[in-house]
Symmetry: C2
Subunit: 95 residues, 2 copies
DNA sequence: TAAATAGTTCAAAAATATTTGAACTATTTT
DNA sequence: AAAATAGTTCAAATATTTTTGAACTATTTA
């Protein structure tokens, strides 16, 4: 019975979202674009399965690190820089 | 056979170190001090076992988030703010 | 010197995170 | 209408992380 106290603070969610090599790659990819891209395009560039992509994009979204817009059949994603700024750039102010 | 590609970049190590509620607590505790404290004192304040403390301090140290100085029987730790600044505050410059 | 204190190491157990493939919904194209 | 495309959901398999307690080293105190 070692269950961790689930404070589930926003900051923990953000750092957990950043603590994965694929998601860091996705973030770097999106950072080089600065406009919306379809999940599929990103997933293809990362060479991951669509199921895995779906999983990772959900985690990024729930952490608030990306914004998502569904247009027809596709889901377009983009970095939400305000979240990065809040938890990373302004880390000491919000710790 | 799902082993992840171990790029083990420094930034990944840092975010993994931050992705745990106990370690975030430790960081907040140390941030409120700004001078060295013994591991035991911190662990006691966090209400964790010494084994668990030893584990978490090792992860923080290997990520470069704390500096450690052993004096006699005790190990004194302190935040290494330059690492926080590099990976968090200056995130966009180092991504 | 014996006992106490601070911390580490180890392997097993427990908890959590990630991947996989199949089946599914919704939309678009032919 | 059928086939193709984009993405989701689910449960099982796998991988990784964290906790636990016992045994250990090194130092200090009685």
């Amino acid at each position: 019975m070692t269950k961790q106290i689930q404070k589930n603070e926003a900051s923990l969610k953000v750092f957990k979202a950043l603590a994965d090599p694929i998601r860091l790659e996705i973030i770097r990819y999106l950072n080089g674009l600065d406009h919306e891209v379809a999940c599929g395009e990103v997933g293809h560039a990362m060479q991951i399965s669509k199921t895995s992509g779906s999983y990772h994009f959900k985690i990024l979204q729930e952490a608030g690190l990306i914004t998502v817009q569904k247009i027809a059949r596709e889901k377009y994603v983009q970095l939400d820089r305000s979240t990065f700024d809040h938890y990373l750039t302004h880390f000491w102010q919000n710790i």
